[in-house]
């Protein structure tokens, strides 16, 4: 599982261009910053109020006044700037963040995203997710291709014809990166653009409820350095 998440993070890192401003969700998306291609430097925005997050901090070196949006202590880069929550969400909503990377419970053919609530089960709140996916120029979803149910041992598709959980936003997802493949959300629906060598197109189709168009230019899933 850890290997699969590393694979996804490595692939996602290739989407970033030098100079990007990015907001990375907690968990897998945070790992992306560890795998940036050589020469690509990005500025990480943290929605609790700064630009210039530089990564985790060693125990003992924590500054209690520098936390990330997950409440963890982090390191700031020399070009850090701290601001209040209105400025932070102004930066997000105003389109000043080039890319946001988040996990998802469900994504569908229209690029609709559900990643914040399971009625009756999970009641966490949307936090900054609704603002991020509406405001960021590019929304990249990084996730395992299917939902594995530990109790039943059954995997269920997360890429659906239509989300059945309450959505975070409509039509916002640009790119889906899983351990199996890369899928672009286009006006014509979902386009399979890259396939990992462990899988066949049939494997991906079987693990996906949504209709997939296979790109005539289908490429290998590239995580080489």
């Amino acid at each position: 599982m850890a290997d699969l998440k590393t694979r996804i993070a490595k692939r996602c890192a290739k989407e970033f261009k030098d100079g990007y401003v990015a907001n990375l969700g907690i968990g897998l998306p945070t790992m992306v910053s560890s795998f940036l291609p050589e020469g690509v430097h990005i500025t990480i925005q943290s929605e609790n109020g700064f630009t210039g997050l530089e990564g985790s901090v060693e125990r003992g070196d924590e500054n209690v006044e520098i936390i990330n949006a997950g409440g963890g202590y982090v390191k700031a880069s020399p070009r850090v700037n701290y601001f209040d929550s209105a400025t932070s969400f102004g930066i997000i909503r105003g389109g000043h963040v080039d890319a946001t990377v988040l996990g998802a419970m469900q994504v569908d053919e229209q690029g609709n995203l559900a990643n914040w609530i399971i009625p009756g089960k999970m009641y966490a709140g949307m936090g900054g997710a609704m603002d991020l996916v509406v405001g960021a120029k590019e929304v990249i979803i990084t996730m395992l291709h299917q939902q594995f149910n530990k109790k039943t041992g059954v995997s269920k598709p997360k890429i659906l014809k239509e989300c059945n959980l309450p959505v975070t936003a409509l039509g916002v997802v640009d790119l889906i990166i899983t351990e199996m493949c890369v899928i672009k959300v286009t006006d014509e629906g979902l386009l399979l653009t890259e396939l990992h060598h462990d899988f066949t197109v049939e494997d991906v189709v079987a693990a996906t409820e949504a209709h997939l168009t296979v790109s005539p230019d289908l490429k290998p899933y590239d995580i080489s350095e």
Binding site: M126, G127, G128, A169
Partner: protein
């Protein structure tokens, strides 16, 4: 010039059962802990609390056995209604909803801060694209401007705002270090009564005025004695 300096209990003397308070902070960082403690000591109940999140629950830090920020109010059971963007770290909110002892209104974080800012700065609301087509749009007016849909997010009012400064002068001009700013610069001034708890209190004119990032005009009462969080 009226003296704004108070003890924590003096500052919240007018806080009554059933009132609405704004509490600044993000997962406890930037929350005035001495005012949380004072509310519990005073014993007011049935509060509506506007805050980003439920703070941190007891046991979040393995070696620190206390809740933090609004987590203290949750544990003390003094909140009837929490208006927040994220309550996932504090199971007491989910439990309160299941037990029907607590109401929770979830608002997207960027909209929450704008609703507070609107009340502070005299706006009838703000128009945001955030939440269009989601549960967050329920009951809200939708307005189309130049072909794009927006939600009208109305101002949020409160009886008290409870904020935390790193440095504050005796007039109330204040500064919040690093990521302790969060909601502090929006909530101070947004309520009928605005209290700042500060780590360091200085005399007016003692520091370069450019030190301060927020105006003391927005501050009614100042309480000394905030401590840096210990880990």
């Amino acid at each position: 010039m009226a003296n704004k300096i108070r003890t924590a209990l003096e500052a919240i003397a007018g806080l009554q059962d059933g009132m609405t308070i704004m509490v600044a902070g993000f997962m406890g960082t930037g929350t005035p802990e001495i005012l949380m403690d004072a509310i519990i000591e005073k014993g007011v109940k049935h509060l509506t609390v506007i805050c980003n999140d439920g703070g941190l629950p007891r046991g979040w830090y393995s070696d620190y056995d206390t809740p933090r920020g609004t987590g203290k109010l949750l544990e003390a059971g003094v909140i009837d209604h929490i208006i927040a963007s994220h309550v996932g770290l504090t199971p007491l909110v989910g439990q309160g909803i299941i037990d029907d002892t607590m109401e929770c209104t979830l608002v997207p974080q960027g909209s929450l801060v704008e609703k507070i800012r609107a009340n502070n700065f005299g706006l009838g609301g703000v128009l945001t694209p955030t939440g269009v087509g989601t549960i967050a749009a329920e009951g809200k007016m939708q307005i189309e401007i130049d072909g794009k849909m927006y939600l009208l997010e109305k101002p949020l009012r409160a009886d008290y705002s409870l904020c935390r400064a790193s440095v504050c002068d005796e007039f109330g001009n204040f500064l919040c270090n690093k990521t302790t700013k969060n909601f502090n610069y929006l909530m101070a001034g947004a309520a009928d009564h605005n209290i700042i708890a500060t780590e360091r209190l200085v005399k007016a004119g003692e520091l370069d005025p450019d030190t301060f990032q927020h105006s003391g005009v927005l501050v009614d009462m100042i309480v000394e004695g905030e401590k840096p969080w210990q880990i």
